[in-house]
Subunit: 145 residues, 2 copies
Amino acid sequence: MDAFMQAAIDEARLGHEEGGIPIGSVLVHDNRIIGRGHNRRVQQGSAILHGEMDALENAGRLPASVYAQATLYTTLSPCPMCSGAILLYGIKRVIVGENQTFMGEEDLLRARGVEVQVLHNDNCVKMMKDFIEDRPELWNEDIGV
Amino acid sequence: MDAFMQAAIDEARLGHEEGGIPIGSVLVHDNRIIGRGHNRRVQQGSAILHGEMDALENAGRLPASVYAQATLYTTLSPCPMCSGAILLYGIKRVIVGENQTFMGEEDLLRARGVEVQVLHNDNCVKMMKDFIEDRPELWNEDIGV
């Protein structure tokens, strides 16, 4: 297991322990985590703090040159909002835990030149499957359904 | 002047008075403003609180049915991140103050069925032109350049 994806999974688990939606993300630059995050819809009543957005926010204000050389790890395929943030900042590489329980905008990202790798990680799939089964209405709210 | 676009401009001006980037937005439902926001990069050191994102965040957690009948007003053409948020939540109508100083993802929004109206508002253009001339490095940071 890639240590950075493990860190994203750890964030997802932390979110779940807080009663939230188990999706986590880390932003990596120069082989170092510069931002960690997890979904905070429940914890902060947030409509915009998906895991990836929270990682980007926690990384703080950065010059374009850092984003251009950064990799974003996320336990789940990135939704349109998070994919848009990836495009805004010109992040060139995204590592996705799984896209079986939710398929995000991977095609759009690839069409815009972003390298998207999907790990098909069983832990990520199980975490989301269990959560969706447990809290379908909360999950639907998070993806605008 | 449409009262809702005026409210978005008021938000932009408030942001500018705070030393921030003058972009504002309001989310309207049932002819009523349910979320107001402005760019908070400077004020909160935020990488994700563009005007539209701030309005969505301040509107709070909402069911999909509200977003589907809401209109987002923004003083400036929405960037990829904000456009992605519009797509995530299925907001069907976006009113844009201007797209002369920055062209966002209007084509993508229209291709996905969102109605995008551009007002070509002179006040919005002037506000951004003055700001970009005054703080080009800050503006570039905000759009990932």
